[in-house]
């Protein structure tokens, strides 16, 4: 660290938060990639209980336009040419392969549904156990209430906070010691909405769990709806991770990364403060 200006080192993240954060990073990465492998076994989504094969909400598939075979992604009735990205990919020798997502983002990296399922369910268990540890810790230690729950005052000033974020102006000094309201809301939505939604929609796809807990089908509007919501919620998590990584990078990459590894976080004190 440089010596210009005054600074203070605080202990930002507890051990439990740091460990569960990194376990979650690994679990979510494996779940995403193995999930795309599983999706590729039938790269189409539907609403309702059953698959209406003629009327998918979303599908990645080959289509013939005259003599040419192209990869098409259909979303809500719109056909988009996604050759070589989704639906169909040409190899240099002119052959083509039908598949949903590219094999470079799936686990394993070639078509192998059974191994994809093995990865997915093993890391789903890790994700669930890790998530329970995090939630129990956060409730018991007050992390959830103290660090994550926004106050009424913070919610009222959400407008200025959004403007400051858009200008990439980040809080300094005393204000940097806690999450700002947008951070709090983003983390709460992920922790209390998106991640539990992944688990519940995942369970709703299980014919075994559906027999014991029919409400799983009721709350999501059927097994195929649950599968579609599973995909949408996963996309939401990917979006969060992208924004999260950008924010980590532009608001002091090394300081942020270190605080999630050792716990220590450097606060720069504005001029004139003791």
């Amino acid at each position: 660290m440089t010596n210009e200006g005054k600074q203070e080192v605080i202990y930002r993240h507890s051990g439990a938060v740091r460990v569960t954060h990194w376990v979650n990073v690994v679990a979510l990465l494996v779940l995403l990639m193995s999930g795309l492998q599983i999706f590729n076994a039938h790269p189409a989504l539907y609403f309702g209980s059953k698959s209406n094969f003629d009327d998918p909400v979303m599908a990645m598939r080959p289509m013939k336009y005259g003599e040419e075979v192209v990869g098409v992604t259909t979303i809500a009735g719109w056909n988009i040419d996604t050759t070589n990205l989704f639906g169909l990919a040409y190899s240099p020798d002119g052959d083509y392969e039908i598949r949903g997502f590219p094999w470079s983002v799936t686990l394993p990296g070639h078509r192998d549904l059974s191994t994809g399922r093995r990865w997915h369910f093993f890391f789903a268990w890790l994700f669930v156990i890790n998530g329970l540890v995090y939630l129990l810790y956060s409730l018991a230690s007050g992390h959830l209430r103290r660090d994550l729950a926004p106050s009424g005052g913070e919610l009222k000033h959400i407008g200025p906070s959004i403007r400051e974020h858009l200008r990439l102006k980040f809080p300094q000094g005393e204000e940097a010691k806690r999450y700002n309201v947008l951070q709090k809301l983003a983390y709460l939505i992920v922790v209390l909405v998106l991640l539990p939604l992944m688990l519940l929609t995942g369970l709703a796809m299980s014919p075994g769990m559906d027999a014991g807990y029919p409400f799983l089908l009721e709350i999501f509007g059927g097994r195929q709806s649950a599968r579609t919501i599973h995909f949408i919620a996963a996309s939401g998590i990917v979006l969060f991770v992208v924004v999260h990584l950008v924010m980590v990078l532009i608001s002091g990459a090394w300081n942020n990364l270190r605080s999630m590894i050792t716990g220590r976080y450097v606060i720069k004190l504005p001029e004139g403060q003791p």
Binding site: L29, H42, K50, R118, W125, G208
Partner: protein, 261 residues
């Protein structure tokens, strides 16, 4: 002489990230997924999943049953959709009038039953959702003999632990028994009221693409458990000695024996 480069924290982190991404991304994971020790660890999840579902779901909990209007117009037929051998062709040509289901193994009373005899037994009709391991679902109406009724008639012995279903289709295309479809279920599923051997689909004789003359329905598990073209049923005390030893055609090829999720 010490020429070892100094590995500082950042360097270590960068190398760790590079190693992690090269094993996880870009197809290099092929080797990781193929490692026997990785497979052994990943396979452990099935034990946890099976134990949890057996604990959390009552053995008698019924799969949801749907109404006539929910039935799929276009029920996808997966796996084998026909059988191209002379013996099966001859049976099919005659409407399976000469076909008999054999019940063998750990039973007091081995059976050989024709379709007419099966139809004369108690029957159950259910409109249920068929969930394929690939992710899609179809809804169909099935009529058949509860497996429990058949096992009772055959006087299942107390040492029996699993019921194995031997099928006519050669999905592995090996031309011998090794490639033929087979499946197995435990007694909890075998005695479940919705576990039936179906000879009718949507009110008509079971079509060949869906497994004529007889297919298994195990409504709380995935589609690959529901063996089609069932020829012979055997009660056993374990599946370790049968073919690949994992209790089914797809199980021998890496899929979970417990297909409740």
């Amino acid at each position: 002489m010490n020429t070892k480069p100094r590995l500082d924290r950042r360097g270590f982190l960068a190398r760790g990230l590079a190693a992690a991404s090269s094993t996880l991304l870009g197809g290099c994971d092929y080797e990781l997924s193929e490692q026997p020790w990785v497979k052994r660890i990943l396979d452990k999840a099935e034990i946890l999943t099976k134990a949890s579902q057996r604990t959390l779901v009552s053995p008698r909990a019924l799969a949801r049953e749907y109404s006539e209007t929910d039935i799929s117009k276009d029920f996808k037929a997966n796996g084998s959709t026909d059988i191209d051998d002379d013996e099966f062709r001859a049976l099919a040509a005659n409407g399976f009038a000469d076909w008999k289901l054999k019940v063998r193994g750990l039973v007091g009373q081995p059976l050989e039953l024709s379709l007419t005899e099966l139809r004369a037994m108690p029957s159950r009709t259910q409109i249920t959702r068929h969930d394929c391991v690939e992710g899609w679902s179809c809804i169909g109406k099935w009529t058949g003999v509860p497996l429990k009724a058949l096992l009772d008639k055959a006087e299942l012995k107390p040492e029996a632990r699993q019921i194995v279903f031997y099928c006519a289709d050669d999905l592995g295309e090996t031309g011998d028994d090794d490639g033929k479809y087979y499946e197995s279920i435990g007694l909890i599923d075998a005695f479940h009221p919705q576990t039936i051997l179906a000879y009718e689909m949507n009110g008509a004789p079971l079509p060949i693409p869906h497994g004529a003359p007889l297919r298994l329905r195990v409504e709380r598990q995935l589609g690959y458990k529901m063996a089609k073209y069932v020829m012979r049923i055997e009660a056993v005390d374990g599946v370790a000695g049968i073919r690949g030893g994992h209790g089914g055609f797809w199980e021998d090829r890496g899929y979970e024996w417990y297909a409740g999720i």
